[in-house]
């Protein structure tokens, strides 16, 4: 059984605890696109058909073993902040919220441990997905595969003997599979080797983009690398290929970091501590600035130049430092300036807690969290 209408709360954040190679690879994601037989794809379907699709998928989700005890949300009836929260957690895409005439009839089902779920009525009727911390493409794929088998046994899916699983966009047809890793590559950026690596990635059938998906800019040296093609290869081949290339990129990144450590140790150390210092003491912090500074701190933690914060905290700040998460914490909608103030307070607090736990000398020279570090009201 799945539960409807429960609060979004902290659900869908399990990946932040990390996994293999967590200092360099933040998360691994696998999704497959599927459509129901006998219905136009969501972009072409009428309101009634879309609502009908949601009901059929809700009934199937209710019986799917992987989703037992999980959650189901109708995106239309969610509070606007909760909707944004789901987008910021990458659980639904912004396209799912695109302005439509009338209700969007979009929905999200999530397993009880929130490691896998189903996005309903985005570009395709079903997007089955799994998200895991660190480099864990194989286990993410196994979860999606299992969920796919369960859903496929309950609902008739659109499949063509030659083209495979049919999708609204021909770039997804076949396996419908998109596997991606979110990877942090400051070493390659600082040594200016990144363009060569990205060029190499493109040449082997992979593609990259920024943290926020298609068309988004690369911020904070975070790159999302994924397979470009979906037809003509098995799912396992696509996953293996991305995993192999990712391991190679990790190797290059490690190489670049050791070059930096040998050839410019003081420059590197200065960069890392400056980043930490600003995050630890700033009173106003823009999202882009926070991302770039988190990159420096993450590099410092990975190279053991900093004792704290923990990688998990860095992952959490990446998520909770976004606007809707700050608004949820503040219990009010925030203008840009207010958001920057709340963000700075939140980040200072998180870093101070980890600093105390790790016994690291505070960056601001004070002995402990000062009065000025306590959050202003509403923060």
């Amino acid at each position: 059984m799945i539960q409807s209408g429960v609060a979004v709360a902290d659900r869908g954040l399990d990946w932040i605890r990390g996994g293999g190679e967590a200092e360099i690879v933040l998360s691994s994601r696998v999704r497959v696109a599927r459509n129901l037989q006998g219905f136009p794809f969501p972009g072409r379907a009428g309101a009634e058909e879309r609502a009908d699709v949601v009901e059929r998928i809700r009934a199937a989700a209710d019986r799917a073993k992987s989703l037992d005890g999980g959650y189901f949300w109708d995106v239309d009836s969610l509070d606007p902040v909760d909707r944004e929260i789901l987008v910021e957690r990458h659980l639904i895409s912004r396209d799912l919220l695109a302005d439509r005439m009338g209700p969007s009839s979009a929905a999200l089902a999530l397993a009880s441990d929130t490691s896998c779920g189903v996005m309903v009525n985005e570009e395709d009727h079903l997007r089955l997905q799994a998200l895991a911390g660190g480099l864990a493409l194989d286990s993410a794929w196994r979860q999606v595969d299992r969920l796919d088998e369960e859903i496929g046994a309950l609902l008739p899916l659109a499949f063509h003997h030659q083209f495979g699983f049919l999708t609204a966009c021909p770039t997804n047809v076949g396996t419908g599979l998109r596997a991606s890793v979110l990877i942090h590559l400051p070493g390659l950026v600082l040594t200016k080797e990144i363009s060569k690596v990205l060029e190499g990635i493109s040449q082997v059938g992979l593609t990259y983009r920024g943290l926020y998906g298609e068309g988004s800019e690369v911020v904070g040296n975070f790159f999302q690398v994924s397979n470009q093609t979906t037809l003509g290869k098995t799912e396992e081949d696509l996953i293996d290929h991305l995993e192999r290339v990712t391991c190679k990129v990790i190797e290059y990144e490690r190489g670049a970091r050791s070059v930096l450590l040998t050839e410019a140790p003081s420059v590197l150390e200065d960069k890392v501590w400056r980043a930490y210092g600003i995050l630890r003491t700033a009173r106003s912090l823009g999202l882009g600035e926070m991302m770039n500074l988190l990159s420096g701190v993450r590099l410092g933690v990975s190279l053991k130049l900093l004792k704290s914060p923990r990688v998990e905290t860095l992952n959490e700040v990446l998520v909770r430092g976004q606007l809707a998460h700050l608004e949820l914490a503040a219990g009010a909608s925030l203008g840009e300036q207010e958001a920057d103030l709340c963000r700075a307070t939140y980040v200072r607090d998180k870093l101070a807690t980890d600093e105390r736990d790790a016994g690291q000398a505070p960056a601001d020279g004070s002995s402990d969290t000062t009065a000025a570090d306590s959050p202003p009201s509403g923060g």
């Binding site: 794809f41 072409r44 899916l157 495979g164 076949g174 093609t229 037809l231 003509g232």
Partner: protein, 170 residues
């Protein structure tokens, strides 16, 4: 040459067809040909010297039962997506569009993916035949092998049971 059907009269109608990648020739008398719904006028192959390829091409032009090729200048009969809609949005409207625009899509898919043939998981619908099921069993075997390699024994056991179930059904 005697008629292939009655072995009595002189063959006057000569047909060449391609079936399962194999070329076949058929020589019939006028009455047997008429019995098969072929008129000597249509085939215009009254001399043995006519090259088979001409017969073949002529046959292509002749009317007869065959799978209707959808006219993709028309919108998809199921969802109404037209070729222009598709070009504009880069999205098709439904699964029937893949049949309706099959030819255009096939070459597009080849350009995008370097292939137009699915190699991954197979999906078994209610109407599937034995070839589909055998294909699915081999795809499941591949996945079971993979599950064993990655030490996911729970998934491997599940697949083993399902393969067994399907084999019993055969």
């Amino acid at each position: 040459m005697l008629c292939d059907d009655c072995r009595d009269k002189e063959a006057e109608v000569h047909l060449t067809s391609i079936e399962a990648d194999e070329m076949r020739s058929l020589h019939l008398c006028v009455s047997c040909a008429a019995g098969r719904g072929i008129s000597a006028e249509d085939t215009k192959t009254d001399t043995e010297a006519t090259p088979p390829l001409v017969d073949f091409l002529a046959q292509l032009g002749a009317s007869g039962p065959r799978t209707p090729v959808p006219d993709s200048s028309e919108p998809c009969p199921f969802c109404g997506t037209s070729a222009t809609d598709f070009r504009k949005a880069g999205r098709v409207g439904c699964s029937q569009c893949y049949v309706h625009f099959e030819n255009q899509l096939r070459s597009l898919l080849r350009r995008i993916h370097g292939s137009s043939h699915h190699a991954g998981k197979l999906y078994l619908s209610q109407a599937s035949d034995i070839t589909d099921r055998l294909g699915q069993i081999s795809s499941m075997r591949r996945r079971m092998k993979r599950a064993i390699e990655t030490e996911d024994f729970e998934a491997a056991a599940e697949l083993r049971d399902r393969i067994h179930e399907m084999e019993v059904q055969e």
